[in-house]
């Protein structure tokens, strides 16, 4: 099968981004704009949607079902903030994963009619999702500062979790984009799976509330580590273990490089199926 895994396998997906920088920026801006072009609220929707979700989930889980995080929450306001944190992380992941399978077909023109570096398309998805993530995350930090009297110093460690998370999501995006181009069932399957992924990820609860035999299994879900670490750093003054960070970073890099390699191998056939 060839194409052994050297350091290049990790560098290539970044190199194409640098080489096509100006084009990437234009396509990314276009993608962000086209999501809200023509709507009255425009970019405000990026903030409105998650806030509405937080409100409804807080009502359902916080008040109706009165679920609490097992690690004691200090103020009432922390529950919606914890939900908001989880939804922001999950939203980033799900936006990329949900859009990837259809994205090549949506941009069939780039495949068939013009010379275009197709491998930057998943980077476009990442860019758009990251843009929304950044806005929501900034909002979260502001809320934290206002309601809990400051952003904990642990926030400085967030990049150690979030950068590998981004790379892993990008790897998945290449993989799903390539497979989804050939298998038209994939977009539907992801749509069906989305709520399942949401509920089996510890967004509205902590993994510590999960019964023992399942808790270990939970860490097979990459979102678990990200959600637990981010919440730990922002709310509970707990840092992820060095071993955990290392394993997560290694796994992410592997998915990142493998996803890209898979995409590049599958790519010659795109023109025949879109």
């Amino acid at each position: 099968m060839g194409g052994g895994i050297g350091l290049q396998a990790f560098w290539r997906p970044l190199e194409t981004l640098l080489r096509n920088g100006q084009l990437y920026r234009r396509v990314l801006v276009r993608d962000i704009q086209s999501t809200f072009r023509g709507s009255a609220l425009g970019l405000a929707w990026i903030v409105v949607i998650p806030l509405v979700l937080v409100a409804i989930y807080t009502f359902v889980f916080g008040m109706v079902l009165s679920s609490t995080f097992s690690i004691g929450t200090r103020t009432r306001i922390e529950v919606p903030l914890l939900f908001f944190t989880g939804l922001t992380v999950f939203g980033f992941f799900m936006e990329v994963v949900g859009r990837s399978p259809n994205f090549i077909r949506e941009n069939a023109v780039y495949v068939k009619k013009i010379v275009f570096p197709l491998e930057i398309l998943p980077w476009v998805l990442i860019g758009t999702a990251l843009f929304k993530f950044a806005i929501n995350f900034a909002l979260l930090l502001v809320f934290l500062a206002v309601f809990t009297g400051g952003v904990p110093a642990g926030a400085l460690m967030l990049p150690l979790v979030l950068v590998p998370f981004l790379l892993m999501t990008a790897g998945l995006s290449w993989l799903l984009a390539a497979v989804g181009t050939y298998v038209r069932d994939l977009p539907h399957a992801i749509q069906a799976l989305a709520p399942i992924i949401m509920f089996i990820s510890p967004i509205f609860y902590s993994v510590q509330q999960v019964p023992a035999p399942f808790a270990t299994l939970y860490y097979a879900n990459p979102l678990t580590f990200v959600l637990e670490s981010v919440r730990g750093l922002l709310f509970f003054d707990t840092a992820p273990s060095a071993a955990g960070l290392l394993v997560f970073a290694a796994a992410s890099l592997l998915v990142f490089a493998a996803g890209y390699a898979f995409f590049q191998r599958a790519r010659p056939g795109f023109a025949d199926v879109v």
């Binding site: 099968m1 084009l23 072009r37 023109v109 009619k113 010379v115 298998v183 010659p268 056939g269 023109a271």
Partner: protein
Amino acid sequence: MSSEPFIKARGIGKKYALYGSPLQRLGDLVLGTGSAGEHWAVRGVDLELGPGDCVGIVGRNGAGKSTLLEMICGISRPSEGRLETRGRVAALLQLGAGFNPEFTGRENVMLGAAIYGLPDAEIAARLPDIRAFADIGDYFERPVREYSSGMYARLAFSVCAHVDPDILVVDEILGIGDVAFQQKSMRFLRRFRRRGITLFVSHNEHAVAALCESAVWMDRGRVVARGGTREVLYRYRRELQRLAMQDARFEARDGAAAEIAELPVAAATRRPTEFDLDEPAAAAGLGAIEEVVVSADGVPLAALEGGERIGIAVTLRADGALEAPFVLVVLRNPMGQALLACDSRDAARQPESLGAGDRARFSFAFDLPFLPTGSYPLEIHAYAGAGEPACVERREAAAVMQVLSAHISHGMANLRMKRTLLEVVHEPG
């Protein structure tokens, strides 16, 4: 740095593997699980082009023209052979590829130019030129979805014309837009071909003949002929005609026409044809057109220019009693419009009636008008019946006249201008 653009192709070919399902295709690409079969869309093509070369590529559907262009553009990679290109390639495979209807003309131009590889600074510098060339006024700042198709084509072509390509690959896009736009784009192409490399695919042979000095004829993925445009087009059309005739039930023969007397003017102006050429009354099965012989001053029908004396001889066989039979000849243009329709009732001698087994021969002669390049089918109808004529048999495209015009005038008639004179008129005072 010497940066003369070039295209060098040595025996390039493109193989498409055939698969039962998209999943199988993915499996083969990633894991090498094998395919159900293979198909060579292009094979063994050599090309060597440099600045100033302008090549037209002709061929039937599925000949591999588009596949070849895709390889040269870099959209797909050759499966075999060596392909080297130098220079910025602008692929005009589809006008306005990548335009988003929600965005303004300006925004689409910015992205379009970036896709063609223009750096940001260059895009900004050329924006006024692109806007002026497109000539769509304030619509430039309006969303593209509000554009007419003509405005869309203008803007899209304007982008391509300003990205400074070295190699221009044009696939079948010049038929759209209004006349003014077509003129503008042809003017641009004519100017461009002097300095760059132009590859041009079109079903419109007129456009190929007008633009390219050399041509390549492809069939089933291979190059059949290459050389001067006129010669290649001539051979291509002759082959097309041969293929068309293979499918036909019989073949009109090229032959020598009998000399026939000219009709008196009065007879020729006698009356218009009183029945519908496109919906003639049903065939009665009383006879058959046995033979059609067409002559054109000894010129093959595949290489007419206009002005030739066309002779047509039609032999009609009667299987039953045919009263007052006559033959109608219709010359149609490529759009199917009747250019000429005349019947044998104008002849001095008319067969009164034919009995079973009788044959009658009807001869016609007319001068072929000067016409634009294209295929002109000749339709032969046979009728019988004095009052309401019924159609005995009707042969569509009994023969096809291929006109390859050397004229430079445009329009349906394509007359040769006899004289032009320039006089400077001074206004008094």
